[in-house]
Symmetry: C2
Subunit: 332 residues, 2 copies
């Protein structure tokens, strides 16, 4: 059993109210009694009961992050960004991730809503109607992390996928002189993936390069998918000179296939990716890719959420887009 303020009160010969006030540094407690109580608390190894405090204050000072199962490459970075901001504002962070054992975010979101956290940052690769309803029904503030939210009513933070893909494509054309640029798509339901494709197409159009639909192949954001897509592209009669994979994982898959075929990057075929996951730095040659400032996403999301929590209701939903950067490697 833990020490409670009641026991401190007894030892100090004061009421529990005074103890509570002293420990919370309430200005109208005599300095001497404050000191007495603080010392006593220290001696007795007292540690306040978070749960009891939360019950009366109706505030946990904890925010939750819910992460999807797939592709955990950048989660640590996001968490770090969130935790940084949270810590500065005296909040704690509660991370939960869905995985094979639980098929939806429902259980987690449900749990979190039970007065466990003050708000949650929800990262979703795609958003179903079911989840949409869930979010609407949830009472606590939510900030979405994703490429593009069609939920106007919920604040969101995401990277500018369109701009990222556009910049990369433009870079390939204008700085590197490529014009035979192929593209490996992501999953159709993934909104990030869709916007990356759009950016790619837009850049081609703006540069007056016709879109070759043979060069736009399906992918699923996995290594395997990248391998399949690369094989397809490399077996075409009219081969592209660059493969722009919608994420780094698939780019890695391309590397493998290209390697197996005895071709060299970038001479025989160039490869570029998107995400700048840690692994991309270790691909040989180093991958040229779109840098996604993951920690920045985390920080922005946390700031947004805390803002909502502090000035509740006054702020209307915001949608923040974070600009990506270009990491120029040796792969093109």
């Amino acid at each position: 059993m833990s020490i409670t303020i009641k026991e401190i009160a007894e030892k100090a010969n004061v009421s529990i109210a005074t103890v509570s006030r002293a420990l919370n540094d309430n200005p109208n407690v005599k300095e001497s009694t404050k000191e007495l109580i603080r010392n006593l608390a220290q001696e007795m190894n007292y540690s306040p009961n978070f749960v009891a405090r939360t019950l009366v204050k109706k505030k946990t000072n904890v925010i939750g992050i819910i992460l999807p199962e797939v592709g955990g490459e950048f989660f640590p970075e996001i968490i770090k960004g969130v935790d940084e901001v949270a810590y500065q504002n005296e909040y704690h962070v509660f991370v939960a991730s869905s995985h094979s054992e639980r098929n939806t975010v429902e259980s987690i979101l449900g749990f979190m809503s039970k007065s466990m956290v003050d708000g949650v940052i929800l990262m979703l690769p795609s958003i179903t109607d079911h989840i949409r309803n869930l979010i609407k029904r949830t009472r606590i503030p939510i900030v979405l992390i994703n490429g593009y939210s069609k939920m106007e009513e919920v604040s969101s933070v995401g990277i500018d996928n369109f701009q990222g893909a556009y910049t990369m494509t433009n870079f390939l054309i204008q700085n590197k002189g490529y014009d035979k640029i192929s593209f490996i798509k992501g999953p159709d339901i993934n909104s990030d993936a869709k916007l990356r494709l759009k950016g790619y197409k837009a850049a081609l159009e703006d540069n007056k390069i016709p879109i070759n639909h043979e060069w736009i192949v399906d992918g699923d954001f996995t290594i395997k998918g990248g391998e399949l897509a690369a094989s397809r592209l490399l077996s075409l009669i009219n081969k592209p000179s660059v493969i722009f994979a919608a994420n780094d994982m698939m780019a890695a898959g391309c590397y493998r296939v290209i390697d197996q075929l005895g071709l060299t990057i970038p001479d025989d075929i160039a490869v570029v990716g998107f995400d700048h996951i840690p692994m991309s730095e270790f691909l040989n040659p180093k991958l040229t890719t779109v840098h996604v400032p993951t920690d920045e996403i985390g920080r922005k999301a946390a700031k947004l959420l805390l803002d909502i929590l502090e000035n509740s209701e006054t702020t209307k939903p915001q949608h923040i887009k974070i600009t990506t950067g270009l990491i120029v490697g040796k792969s093109c």
Copy 2:
């Protein structure tokens, strides 16, 4: 404001006690009233207040994991393992990680002890006296994840670093025929690192290969450290034919240096690692390394902790060592 059992009680014309019992499926509540109350709860979108329940039950059904800042490569796997077991036992998992903003695990452990979680899984790269005391003073059950715990009084789960390094070294000697095997150490304070070194040395001895101290160089588990160490080893007059890096990150550093020098792996120099981090699969040629079953560690740790929580006090501290495997790539 959320719905409470009080409001349900009013609507149902029963006392809050009955509502509480009905919702908890207490056997001596009439089936008809149970139904009534359950329906009402559903309609009113009631969701129990976790905090209030915890206050009286003194059980949160949440376990915490505290992760260190460094090298987050395998955290997702560990978390997954923990969460799997936790979920099966109706527990939730609370992840926190130390990072630059907070220099010790103190703040987190402190927070977690405040009745926030029922127990914690603590992952520590090294264990200082300060932390040791902290652990001893903490009232809630703790399970340590690390290579070797000198804390007999606290249960722990870890991989068998000695066996892993021994097996790898032995493999290099007996299966691959190497005898000029160098080793890049990890940080001196890191207990995993120390045991890996021991395993390496023991295998050499058992194979009657004299230890060449020139071939045992310092490292710090980072890429940079690997680069430095590799440079050192490759500038020796009497060069080794294999580099055994105490972790994969340093092995990656070796790859870089070897690449820059225009040498090839494994012909000019072989490289092997330890950890089997995802990246190791993408190094070219694929890295031969020691596989650490990270999710297994998470599962075991969670099982151990839950066991302690359920049969509190009855079980004495256990120390589980998990056997590693060998991933044979093309790097030796």
